[in-house]
Amino acid sequence: MATEDVKLIGSWASVFVMRAKIALHLKSISYEFLQETFGSKSELLLKSNPVHKKMPVLIHADKPVCESNIIVQYIDEAWNSSGPSILPSHPYDRAIARFWAAYIDDQWFISLRSILTAQGEEEKKASIAQVEERTELLEKAFNDCSKGKPFFNGDHIGYLDIALGSFLGWWRVVELDANHKFLDETKTPSLAKWAERFCDDPAVKPIMPEITKLAEFARKLFPKPQA
């Protein structure tokens, strides 16, 4: 497939954009990356995603696909004969993967983000406790889905690995900001090991943003009030 055929509108720091990138890398698809400028939205973005005006947007042969999890599934289906399968093959396993991917976005991410936006110590503590609880569920989900294999998807990274793994950079930034470790060998032994394997995966390693760069960006996005 020619490079001009596939474009991805996004930003280096975005978790959701990273999901699309990992999927493209898994399938060895060449694409043109269109970096959005922080603080403004390009004409192309607004035209390609008039409903939400958000990234990522995948443009394939001039047709835009929006919403990161929808983009990942699209990549899996449109290039189903190349590279590994991103979604599991059995309908029940696919349903479980979709369920947890939606949980990550609707529940887990919301509480993770609320740590960064918390006003005051009490609120922060409550958000931390909520993330702890929700991460416990994900630890169990990992054990159920992986069935002893290295990834949620089994032997290779897949949809659910991508859904959660794309957060690992930001998750580390939050841990540093909150001075609290969520992923560790005692509380979340399976996820802690999985995180290392995920970050080492050849489809992920070259595109995982540096933590220091992300932390700097986080300070811009979530400025601390002056004491």
Binding site: V65, E67, I71, Y74, I96, R98
Partner: protein
């Protein structure tokens, strides 16, 4: 209805007035799948529900051969992948991505915004109504030149958007505001008529009188009968 084979046990935990539960019934009925329906009292949830959906503790839950699946959009995709007659989602990856996009839009944007009408009066309520209409305009445009969102026949988005046709639009009397006036939304009104011409839809939506009574009772308490 087809005889249920011994190996095929399908059970649906649902609630008669819930749009999320009814959409599952529509999908199963469209596909000719026999199922056992278990009516849940959402004010007094059964231990079975709590056991089968420990994460959200909500209906609908589909149980297929003893294995539970939760979250209505996840369930719909599972049904489509398991029972291949009368496909609900398009085959083409791009069309499929668009169907998933609009379904998510109905649940995460339209439903969430429309619910905010509850307990609001005057200018605040007007603002919510305007916001809902802005969102509905996207659906209006999608329907131009089509009998259904799915094209010539009912599809995924139609099933999900019954929330608009038979919940949002039914509450108009009770809210006292025509959220979806025919002058502004002729395509949506035409689509609702098309839906009402479909036997499966007619069979699977809540009976109007009882439904309106239920919504009236609920709107005094909290929601607009969206459950």
């Amino acid at each position: 209805m087809a005889e249920r084979s011994e190996s095929e046990e399908v059970k649906l935990l649902g609630m008669w007035a819930s749009p999320f539960s009814r959409r599952i019934e529509i999908a199963l009925t469209l596909k000719g799948v026999s199922y056992e329906f278990s009516e849940e009292d959402i004010t007094n949830k059964s231990s079975l529900l709590l056991q089968l959906n420990p994460v959200y503790k909500m209906i609908p839950v589909l149980v297929h051969n003893g294995k539970p699946i939760s979250e209505s959009l996840v369930i719909l995709e599972y049904i489509d992948e398991t029972w291949r007659d009368n496909p609900i989602l398009p085959q083409d990856p791009y069309e499929k991505a668009m169907a998933r996009f609009w379904a998510k839009f109905v649940d995460e944007q339209i439903y969430v915004t429309a619910m905010k009408v509850v307990g609001k009066i005057g200018e605040e309520r007007d603002a919510v109504v305007e916001a809902t209409r802005d969102l509905l305009m996207f659906l209006e445009k999608e329907l131009v030149g089509k009998d259904f969102f799915g094209g010539r026949s009912l599809g995924f988005v139609d099933i999900v958007a019954t929330l608009v046709a038979f919940w949002l639009m039914r509450t108009e009397e009770i809210v006292g505001v025509k959220v979806v006036p025919v002058e502004k939304f002729p395509e949506i009104h035409r689509w609702v008529k098309n839906l009402l011409g479909n036997d499966v839809i007619k069979k699977c939506i809540p009976p109007e009188d009882e439904h309106l009574q239920y919504i009236r009772a609920r709107s005094c308490v909290l929601s607009l009968g969206f459950v």
